[in-house]
């Protein structure tokens, strides 16, 4: 469960959002809405721990958070498979247990294929992730030769590899065509169904049937004390 209370976050010394509070239960998603520049990115970064908050509390199971933004960290000189394997290694997920054997599809009888469901604490094997995000044909292509949409898919596939429960996603569907968006949404729904949580900032309608939080009312007053320069006036 993710609980946020009384959160004031800042960017570059200026308070951006103040007094943000919400709770997201396991299996739920929350969609952040608001005009550009309102502070969606700042909020997500603060939740992920990249930025210290000015005030307030963020509470979720330790070591279960993961962050993804448009800067997807894809290395041009590594292949698609190598990129994913690296993150799997960093997050301590091995490439064997939950892997679907090559050639296995949804048509296989459930007993023959391993559990296709997503387990929150273990990522799926490399092959099944590549399949789920339609990257299998690209598995040996260099990251630098991918199109923008393919890179995005790779960036999202990373999330599937690392097996973390609480996801903070900043505009995950930029550059994705409709087919890819629905791939992503399918995976996200499976993630939620298995007890995961997702906080997503997006401008489009993902078809998730998730509550939305408009950030406009939380906009921080500019002369809210605590801004670095403001303290001098």
């Amino acid at each position: 469960m993710l609980k946020v209370e009384n959160l004031t976050c800042a960017r570059g010394g200026m308070p951006v959002l103040s007094d943000v509070g919400f709770t997201v239960e396991a299996g739920q998603a929350l969609v952040l809405r608001g005009p550009n520049g309102i502070g969606k990115t700042t909020l997500l970064r603060t939740l992920a721990g990249l930025q210290p908050a000015i005030e307030g509390e963020v509470d979720y199971p330790e070591d279960q958070g993961a962050y993804a933004s448009h800067a997807d960290g894809v290395k041009s000189a590594l292949t698609v498979a190598e990129n994913l394997q690296f993150w799997a290694d960093v997050y301590g997920q091995s490439d064997v247990a939950a892997d679907v054997p090559p050639g296995g599809t949804a048509g296989q009888p459930p007993t023959a294929a391993p559990d296709r469901g997503f387990t929150p604490t273990r990522g799926r094997g490399l092959h099944s992730v590549l399949e789920a995000f339609d990257l299998d044909e690209l598995r040996n292509r260099m990251g630098g030769t991918l199109s923008a949409g393919q890179r995005r898919r790779l960036g999202l596939a990373r999330l599937a590899m690392i097996g973390r429960k609480v996801l903070f996603l900043d505009e995950p569907t930029v550059s994705l065509d409709r087919a890819s968006v629905s791939l992503f949404v399918d995976w996200l729904k499976a993630h939620l169904a298995a007890g995961g949580i997702a906080v997503i900032a997006t401008h489009i309608d993902l078809g998730l049937d998730a509550p939305e939080l408009d950030l406009t009312p939380f906009k921080a007053a500019p002369d809210l004390g605590g801004g670095a320069d403001e303290a001098f006036l």
């Binding site: 570059g12 010394g13 200026m14 210290p52 000015i54 005030e55 500019p222 002369d223 004390g225 605590g226 801004g227 670095a228 320069d229 403001e230 303290a231 001098f232 006036l233």
Partner: protein
């Protein structure tokens, strides 16, 4: 948890305003008295002649060069722990003063050494250590100038100051090791701890006091300027938002 402590720059500006003129005047007084006394009213040293009197400039400036860095270190630690803005700005303000003190120490050190060495510069352990200190100051100032966001700059320069302090101490001993080496040669030691008789000692004390007061006065004045600069930034940001 709130990591933001409200600095009270207003209080700082308040109390420094009346204090500053006093500081400058007493610094000036001490310096004039000390230097005149030291240069003109003390006997010439039988060994080093009259150029030894440069110590009335050299010793205080060398002391302040080191103390300025120590003050920056303390101010950096206070910033990191307590987020007291004035502290970070004071460290920034002190650095150029420290640089100048170091340069004075280097020049006067050369003048002092010249009769003994026959040259204005020698890679004597003390002078070399001050040269390295000079480089540390330069790096610190350069880092402040390079970073745009003031709080990030304060954080980064604080870390640099702390790490640099450790290496500065290491360098001091490394340079001693380096200079003693094989080529024992002349003990080019401008040793302050030589037994200085009272006749020389008192004017030296006055000069040291003068330099200390001057340092404090300059740092306070420069910190006030830094605060005003930040105020201007805040006002500009407000105007931009309006």
């Amino acid at each position: 948890m709130s990591m933001w402590e409200y600095a009270n720059p207003k209080l700082f500006m308040g109390w420094t305003r009346p204090v500053l003129p006093w500081l400058f005047w007493s610094a000036g007084l001490c310096l004039v008295v000390g230097l005149v006394w030291g240069f003109f009213f003390t006997p010439n040293d039988f060994r080093q002649g009259s150029t030894v009197k440069i110590i009335y400039l050299h010793v205080p400036s060398a002391l302040m060069a080191i103390n300025a860095w120590l003050m920056m270190l303390v101010a950096s630690i206070i910033w990191v722990v307590r987020r007291h803005h004035v502290s970070a700005l004071a460290a920034r303000a002190a650095a150029p003063v420290g640089v100048v003190m170091t340069l004075i120490a280097l020049f006067t050190g050369g003048i002092w050494g010249q009769p003994m060495w026959g040259t204005y510069w020698a890679w004597d352990p003390r002078l070399t250590s001050f040269l390295i200190l000079f480089l540390f100051y330069l790096g610190y100032i350069a880092l402040w100038e390079a970073i745009e966001d003031p709080d990030t700059a304060a954080d980064l320069t604080s870390v640099l100051c702390m790490v640099g302090s450790i290496f500065a101490i290491l360098s001091r001993y490394a340079v001693l090791f380096w200079n003693q080496g094989l080529h024992q040669g002349a003990t080019l030691s401008l040793d302050k701890e030589e037994n200085i008789s009272d006749v020389f000692w008192f004017p030296l004390l006055v000069c040291i006091a003068g330099f200390v007061l001057l340092f404090i006065a300059l740092v306070l004045m420069r910190t006030r300027t830094e605060i005003r600069a930040r105020r201007m930034r805040a006002l500009q940001a407000r105007a931009a938002r309006a």
